[in-house]
Symmetry: C2
Subunit: 252 residues, 2 copies
């Protein structure tokens, strides 16, 4: 019986963002410290309400811009400088997920290159990049000895789902380049895979694989020694989005 006016209750609809980047060989996510109850003082994912005239992806892109200054290039939007990959992740609507009211949150996943310090309404103290293991471990201690409180709401679940999506998606797509600056070396791309998967990869087999996949990497002609050692070729991301055959994640 669709659309019987007495049959539906109003919901609040929000977007939450899992913004991932690779910093210092670790997969990190953007976390915001909550300034008000509930969960005051706890870390949470950035997010906010969807506006009445906004599509979900627009709302996610707007939040991403507000929190990080990144322009998202979704599949339907033109690519931009300093852009990030943005895609819908999943929707969370447990009736008790927000103690105040019924909130349905459409989570999005954003992948960005390493950035300068985050900003959150000018308050640098209330936003940070944190390794995802630190954010996900329950009741342990972070690297700085600070007690690691669980994330607010069901954000640990959302973050976990986002990380798993990223881990599996770089297997069969060229998405790992979204973690890299516009020009990058094969070694830098390999370190992205190593950080996201948390494993070590053989540099020689990795080089053979990525340079041998048509459309994955396009040489720019330049070289760099910013990682030390012998100069490495610079590449841009090629047009291919799907990797066939995929990059296999080592098991166990």
């Amino acid at each position: 019986m669709p659309y019987d006016p007495s049959a539906f209750a109003p919901f609040a609809v929000t977007v939450d963002l899992v913004v991932l980047t690779v910093r210092r060989h670790a997969l990190c996510a953007l976390a915001i410290r909550r300034g008000e109850p509930p969960f005051q003082g706890r870390w949470a994912l950035p997010g906010g309400f969807v506006r009445p005239d906004e599509d979900l992806s627009q709302a996610a892109a707007r939040e991403l811009m507000e929190e990080t200054g990144l322009c998202a290039h979704a599949p339907d939007a033109p690519a931009q400088a300093n852009g990030a990959h943005l895609e819908q992740l999943a929707t969370y609507g447990d009736p008790k997920r927000d103690p105040r009211m019924r909130v349905v949150s459409v989570a999005h996943l954003a992948l960005a290159p390493d950035l300068p310090a985050p900003r959150a309404g000018g308050d640098a103290n209330s936003a940070r990049w944190a390794p995802v293991e630190d954010l996900l471990q329950q009741g342990g201690y972070g690297r700085d000895g600070e007690q690691a409180a669980p994330l607010a709401f069901d954000h640990a679940r959302i973050l976990s789902d986002g990380v798993e999506r990223a881990r599996s998606k770089i297997e069969y797509s060229s998405l790992a380049t979204a973690f890299c600056p516009p020009e990058f070396t094969v070694g830098e791309l390999r370190r992205v895979y190593e950080a996201v998967w948390g494993v070590a990869l053989d540099p020689r087999n990795f080089h053979r694989k990525v340079t041998g996949t048509p459309g994955f990497l396009v040489p720019t002609g330049g070289t760099t020694t910013r990682q030390g050692g012998r100069p490495a070729q610079l590449f841009r991301a090629g047009g291919a989005t799907l990797l066939n055959p995929p990059m296999l994640r080592p098991e166990v």
Copy 2:
């Protein structure tokens, strides 16, 4: 600025269902004929409002039961007889997707074995299994010569996304068994892959692949000749959910 009460507008939240099955060697979806405006008389996906005290997956399972009589076994629910696979697909929230009001729809994907005739509130004329190509082609003619009007709302997009999810997911998971009855033969499973992908597969290589993947199929000891020809072994779905290495979909 989360949760400023003046900052959010109420939305209606619905679940829509992409219910897929394999009938007569074709991938079919459940379609409901709309009895009221807008899009009166057009075909649409089954769905309905999420109730105030219901989780999204509960709402989807309830709608599935109402429309088909199937009990969903989601990953967190116990398996049941006559059960179907159910998972969240994606969420659609374009401000204009429903002309009457702002509706955010959380689409779910259900996979079911071939069933008896569908029911829709007792009105058999308003629900049917239709090949997905018939539902997705715009302005053509269905097999029975009937003008094929596009699906209501953005349901063609939702159905298309659901079909693509199913097509890709049976590559790397054991999900194709969700289209089969509790006991099935290798040939029946192969016909599922052929119908979902729309290609012909080599029976010998397929047999080697599925019987050689540990945990995919468990022999029950029985045999059947319901497909004609030499008796075939019967199998149940094994415990494995991920196929490694995957079943590769032939390209082109």
